[in-house]
Every structure is written in C-alpha cells, then in structure tokens.
C-alpha cells in the first residue's frame, strides 16, 4: 500500500493538491486554536516581518494549555495585522494533521481523476478533519458550545479533549480505505 501511496503522491498534480490542502489546513487549524490572529497591532512595526521570543521560552516549550494544545514561546508579526503564535508542538501537530488531510484530498482526487470513482465518498471521509478543528478550540471553555446551544458536562468536556486523536485515527483509516479502493480499482 505504501508503494501505491508513494507512486501517487510523487506525481506533480497530486502532490500539488496535497501541498495546497496541507498549507490551507495548517492555517485553518492555527486560526481555530487562536494561534493565528488577524488584529491591529498597537505598536509601530519595526519591519514587515518580526519574530519575538519570550525570555522564559525554555519553561514554556512543552507546557500544555489543554490536551493537545501547547503554550507559545514567541510570535511572528507579519505586517501590522497578522500575528502567528510560535509553539513548536502545536506546529508539529498541525503539520501531522495537515499531511493526513492533504493525503486524503490527493487520494480522493486520484480516485476521481484516474479511476473515475465518485469523489463523494472520499470527501465524506474528510469529515474526520472536523474533530481536530473543534478540539483545537478547547483553548478555554469552548464558546462554540454556546453557539451550538449545549451546556457543558464533565463527559462532553472530556470527550472534547479527545477530538484531536480521534481526527488522527479517522484520517489514517480514511487513507487506508482510499488506498484499498485504489488497489481494488487497479486490479
């Protein structure tokens, strides 16, 4: 299966799909966890791109805010309106999820393009990305709950913390499932 996967992903067209989705997903994920914000900066920017680290960054490097959400150790300021929080574990997590989502899209696209299979089921499989986005929002008491109109219970709060690993499992299974379809389609 790995061979099939590599043979697909190394093709320019599918690689590009995976790359675009990977970048887009990372941006959405970081915005969802509040680590990418669009806001007016009060101070005069010294240059278009600035990186600032906290003096106590070593203490915060692996410190958690909530399950699967880590403290930032600095920030990147882009222009006057964009601020990206620098948290290495979060960036690794976002990248891992981004690779899985990107791979899912590339394989769905391959199914659709090369094998003429309906892309619908592949897209349904991407529902697995939703828990990871929701899980990231658990930075504080999730206000999204208010929008949904639920009251938080201990069970729901606990379940919330598992959204990121649930996403990883769902996305991994969906890749396996897509590869199986491709294998069956080829034979």
């Amino acid at each position: 299966m790995l061979k099939i996967f590599l043979s697909i992903i190394t093709q320019r067209k599918f690689f590009l799909v995976a790359l675009i989705v990977f970048v887009a997903y990372i941006l959405v994920y970081l915005a969802a966890v509040g680590h990418l914000i669009f806001t007016s900066r009060m101070e005069q920017a010294e240059s278009f791109l600035e990186v600032k680290f906290l003096t106590n960054w070593q203490q915060l490097l692996l410190r958690q805010r909530s399950p699967f959400l880590f403290e930032a150790i600095g920030a990147v300021y882009i222009g006057s309106n964009i601020k990206l929080f620098l948290s290495i574990p979060n960036l690794i997590l976002a990248s891992l999820l981004g690779v899985l989502v990107g791979s899912n899209f590339a394989l769905s696209f391959y199914n659709f393009k090369r094998l003429g299979l309906s892309g619908g089921k592949g897209v349904v499989a991407l529902l697995g990305t939703i828990p990871s986005i929701l899980g990231g929002m658990a930075c504080c008491v999730p206000t999204l709950i208010l929008v949904i109109g639920l009251q938080l219970t201990a069970t729901l709060a606990t379940a919330w913390s598992f959204f990121v690993p649930i996403s990883i499992i769902l996305l991994t299974l969906s890749i396996g499932w897509s590869l199986k379809r491709i294998q069956a389609g080829k034979s």
Binding site: G34, Q64, A72, L146, G149, S161, I168
Partner: protein
C-alpha cells in the same frame, strides 16, 4: 483477508493505546503536588469548626466541580506582574475598556480585563514599610463576571499564591492554593477540600470600572503590562468569550450559561449584574446594580447587621459598610445573577 483484518485491528489498537499513553503523560502535571507535613500540621492545629449544614454545602460544591477544558494551570496565573505607566496604558487601552482597579496598601494599579481574561489570577507580593511581605491575588472569573481580591494568608504562618485549577463550579473559577493544593471557588472564598477545608480567605476590594474612570480618579496609577510571560491575544478582539464594549457581546450578552448551576432562580435574567454582599454565615444580599445606580444609597439587613451600600458615580462602583461603624467595610462585588444565586440560593434580592 483474515491476516489483513487482524493486522488492521492491531494497528488501530496500537494507535489507541499510544494516544492514551501520550494523554496520560501529558496530564501528569494536573495531579496534586506533594504537601509538606509541616503545612498539614499547621492547618490541623487551627482547623475551623464546620457546621453540618456548611459541611453538606461545601461537599456539594466539590461534587459539582467540573473540568472547564484546560487542565490545572492550563490557564496560567500571572506570577510576577510587570507594570507600566498610565500614559503607556493609553497607547493600547480604550477609554471604555474594563479594568479592575486596586487601591490597597501601597498598590494602586489597574488590571485590564483584556489581560486577566486569559489568566484569571495575578499573584502580587506587597512590600510593607515594616519590611514584611504580603501575598495577594487579584482574581477574575469571566464566566461569572466577578473580580475579587484575596489575601494569601491562609493561616497565620502560611501565605500562599494561587493558581487556576481548571475546575469550575456554578461556572465560577476554582482557584487552588500552592501551599495545600486545596480548592477555593472564587465567589465563595472558602476551601471546599484539602487541608484548608472550611477556611475562608480575607478579601480586599477590587473596583470593576472603565479605564477612563479609573485613571481620572487615580492619575498616577500603574497598569498591568502585556508582558505577562505568555503569548496571548490581548487586543480589543482578543476576549474569547465576547466583549463588554461591542454590540455583539457574545457570552456576556447571551442568556445561556456554559455549565448547569446547582441552584437556579429565574426572577432575573441570568447575566443581570447584581452587587453581591455576603458574610461568613452565608447570609447574602444581592442588589440590582441598576437600582443602586438610581438610588445611590441602599440600607439593608445582612443577617443581624444593618449595612449601607453607597454608589460612587465617578467609578460606577460601590462600597458597603456596617451602619454602626462606617470604617468597617464589607467586601461587595459585581456578579452575574445566575452565579450569585447558585452559591447563595437564600439571598435577599433588592430590585
């Protein structure tokens, strides 16, 4: 086919087990820390007498403590607050931004809500002229709209800083003290478990007002700096729960509460602001803030004592004192009605 299936199940099991292992290790920090025998003995020697009724109530609160999402210290308290001048504060604070003003001992400072919404507690140490140091905590719970100042002296010999436990009861912040790891719901100001069980913290007033009002009254005030040791969005749109200023107030303007309170009373809308006053016997009075603004002075009974609550139009805040002794100030603070009545279901309400 069989081999493929069993291989796949094995893989899923490995992934699930790995996630649980990672989760366990990631949450180790939320376990209670070791408490020294000296601290335990010190607490035992001066243990307060807790009545059966009080005991039932404290246990009920402990049983109803729920996780708010982040773990212990997931919302980090500010440990060594840095301050700037008021003119520096003017550069980023709007005139109508909420600040929590402190005028206690030598400390005259404004703690912007925009900052405390991300930290909930600022631990400060005051150096008195006598050379003594006093630990105090400026605390704020966004979900119940309460700002209360606590002195760190839990017992005479032990003064502590506080952290955010990650638990809530009646949507209210539960703090923990770093000396005994006991849990203290902010509105109650009493420990509901641990070695400090049943003890109450001494309080000092915190003024819920606007930046414009505060700096007018205290032109030489300090302002809590955004250099908190953490990266957060302290800008105008940074409050994750909504805004007290914008038309779209989010959580603050909605009738929904996030966690089911122990006691409910729908005589007022849940987020209506009341001025809460209570004593150690759990006698409680809630005054509709809007009524206090109109009447300026309200006299009422708190248990057997008569208290006088006066409105300060300059700060849009209030003070309460025992009628017979104007120097005997009782702490009064703003609170959302649903939270106040959840802790004090027998409260008197003045509308």
């Amino acid at each position: 086919m069989k081999t493929f299936l069993s291989g796949r199940i094995f893989l899923i099991l490995i992934i699930i087990v790995s996630i649980f292992v990672v989760y366990f290790f990631m949450n180790r920090s939320s376990r209670p820390s070791e408490i020294s025998q000296e601290v335990v003995d010190s607490f035992k020697r001066t243990a307060p007498t807790v009545s059966k009724e009080e005991d039932d109530f404290l246990r009920l609160l402990e049983q109803n403590a729920v996780s708010g999402g982040p773990g212990k210290d997931g919302i980090p308290a500010i440990e060594k607050p840095q301050y700037t001048t008021a003119s520096e504060g003017n550069k980023w604070l709007q005139p109508n931004d909420i600040v929590f003003g402190v005028d206690y001992s030598d400390l005259v400072a404004a703690y912007p809500q925009r900052i405390l919404v991300w930290h909930e507690i600022a631990n400060e140490t005051l150096r008195h002229d006598s050379g003594q140091a006093e630990k105090v905590a400026i605390t704020y719970c966004p979900l119940t709209g309460t700002a209360i100042g606590f002195k760190g002296a839990i017992v005479e010999s032990i003064s502590s800083t506080f952290g955010v436990s990650g638990k809530l009861v009646n949507s209210n912040l539960i703090m923990y003290d770093r000396a005994s790891d006991s849990y203290w719901p902010q509105i109650l100001g009493k420990a509901i478990n641990g070695a400090a069980y049943g003890r109450a913290l001494e309080e000092f007033p915190i003024v819920w007002t606007t930046w414009e009002r505060w700096k007018k009254k205290y032109p030489n005030t300090k302002v809590l700096s955004r250099e908190t040791g953490f990266v957060r969005n302290y800008n105008e749109n940074g409050d994750p729960y909504g805004s007290y200023i914008r038309d779209d107030k989010g959580y603050y303007g909605s009738d929904s509460v996030l966690f089911h309170p122990i006691n409910e009373n729908k005589i007022l809308a849940p987020k209506t602001v009341v001025v809460g006053i209570r004593d150690e016997k759990r006698n409680a009075v809630a005054i509709l803030k809007e009524s206090l603004r109109r009447q300026k002075t309200i006299e009422t009974k708190l248990g057997e004592k008569t208290i006088v609550v006066t409105y300060d139009p300059d700060l849009d805040f209030h003070k309460a004192h025992i009628k017979e002794n104007p120097g005997n100030i009782i702490n009064s603070f703003d609170a959302m009605w649903f939270a106040w009545v959840a802790f004090y279901p027998d409260t008197k309400l003045i509308q």
